[in-house]
Symmetry: C2
Subunit: 335 residues, 2 copies
């Protein structure tokens, strides 16, 4: 592994995303990416008796589907990296327990898909794993009750707020040619003194700007060197702020930037205010739509920068700022 | 990196624990390991205006002290691995933000010290980091209010319950000769249908038994091949159960086993019921007492198996079992 510039890493091995799968809920299934997802449940509860169990089931289904797509059994996987938004990451531990795969829990809030992919890639690079899985999830109903209000309360959401995606994305990684994770920039915690828990986009944009700027500077590349730069999940408010922050550094990504939070729902037909969010948002968009485009050679080299707000309901109630983090991976077609 | 047996890993590089530090609260400072700790605060609040900020301060102080002991600056560290018990791991994100070190959040409940050390070691083995920090913490008061009752409520604790340690342990790792992490076994999630959130020892013992058994089998070694086998934190109830579970597999570790939860408090003078617990328990015992003994050549080869209960207050309220996990590292003096 090679360190490039200040804090960007380039893998020596070809770390291939052997297969990936995305499982979502009904609202996501009614959105513009519907056809890309592997399964859209018509029932938010997925037949479970709690929202938390439903979220665990999303992860389980995503991993099962990703394994099936590359024809592997759980016993062939050396390590699984997972995390989620629920307190103590229980969506992951309950959802993945039955696979009996050595388990590394991570916490990166909504940046988790990038974090699990980076951690899994490092484990393959080191030889700790031959095959590894990266997975995460979120669920609108389990997130609302934990972070905001019980659904039954019917709280009115401000226009800057984002809609937590009910979904999970999973990817199976190994060392071979294919759609490969070429490099990464691991985020630093940034704090721009945002205190509004209904404006995650604003809290996370500075972290995205910092990580994207670092990656481009370290690799001495420009935005147009990539077919697309995806962020997740800044939504409409955070994306605008990201452009502004990067403008200040002389970087313009407008022409080839998309945010997963803006892609998963239709803003004209689906009332989600500032867009989608949650670990499951960028995870399900990456593991279906984006990677499908790479497999079809519509895209050959992209950046995927997932952002997370490192708050808790307690930190918000205590009047703390909302620090955030963004982790970035460069994915290349190395067929 | 070499895979040994079913799921044990042996590092090719010498992954040295360059320095370590442990910072604790007043109750821990009044216990039998008092002289080993780097600092014992006389005030549980550490001069902060919330228990959560106090816990963040523990991590900050532990990292500062560990860096000072090996004469390194934060800017010389490539990656920091951290996690804690607070919802969304905020003790870590708020406590470590100012160091501006690329940050990987992990979640392993009370197994976190082993998990951060393993993750940091893998990152050094892969070349992702030259120098990395592993750190975790817990705080009695922030844990009680989150997991059980506000302190002011004065709830009576059953005798099987453990006392969450107010403390943090941090270690700086790099590749060189010294006190080295030689190998590791990454845990699988186990579920023995324990539902009593006041009996974590019982919930975690099966995970410890599974991981220790796997390590010994994979490496074809016996308990007496190690100067000491440390677990953390099974306490008195869980330790007895661990002996019983290992007996069934024909393994007797009684002669050279100690549990960090049984070491940190004096059961005759300090009323902690079944012993200490929390990420900060095994972390502070390892990063002071145990590693000091290794540096003094009193110990040359040990196993450190940290255990975590993967519950949340929500999962308990919903009547779920308490799954658990245990991660193990072998530490060797390679001077």
């Amino acid at each position: 592994m090679e360190k490039i510039g200040n804090r960007t890493l380039k893998f020596s091995k070809d770390i291939c995303i052997l297969s990936s799968a995305a499982i979502v809920g009904p609202k996501e299934g009614a959105g513009p990416l519907s056809k890309d997802f592997d399964k859209c449940f018509s029932d938010s509860a997925l037949g479970q008796d709690s929202w938390e169990k439903a979220e665990s089931m999303l992860q389980k289904c995503a991993v099962e589907r990703a394994l099936k797509k590359c024809n592997k059994k759980p016993s062939e996987i050396d390590l699984i990296f997972a995390g989620d938004l629920l307190n103590q990451c229980t969506a992951s531990s309950f959802g993945l327990m039955d696979f009996e795969i050595p388990f590394i829990g991570v916490y990166g809030a909504c940046s988790t898909m990038a974090l699990t992919l980076i951690s899994a890639s490092i484990s393959i690079e080191s030889g700790a794993a031959e095959k590894a899985i990266a997975v995460t999830s979120s669920h609108f109903c389990s997130a609302e009750r934990q972070y905001r209000f019980p659904l039954e309360y019917g709280g009115v959401r401000p226009l800057t707020s984002q809609w937590t995606v009910t979904g999970s994305g999973a990817a199976v990684l190994t060392s071979q040619k294919g759609i490969c994770i070429d490099g990464c920039t691991i985020g630093k915690i940034t704090d721009f003194s945002i205190k509004d828990a209904n404006n995650m986009g604003a809290a996370m944009a500075p972290a995205a700007a910092d990580t994207i700027y670092s990656y481009l500077t370290d690799t001495n590349t420009k935005p147009y060197d990539y077919d697309m730069i995806y962020t997740g999940d800044l939504g409409s408010v955070g994306s605008k702020l990201l452009y502004k922050l990067l403008d200040e550094k002389g970087i313009d990504i407008r022409d080839n930037h998309k945010d997963c939070g803006n892609m998963i729902f239709d803003p004209n037909k689906q009332d989600v205010h500032a867009g989608g969010s949650g670990c499951g948002c960028s995870a399900s968009v990456l593991c279906s739509h984006i990677l499908n485009k790479m497999r079809n050679n519509e895209l050959n080299k992209i950046l995927f920068c997932a952002t997370g707000a490192l708050l808790s309901p307690t930190s918000i109630q205590q009047g703390e700022n909302i620090p955030s983090i963004a982790h970035l991976i460069c994915i290349k077609n190395k067929e």
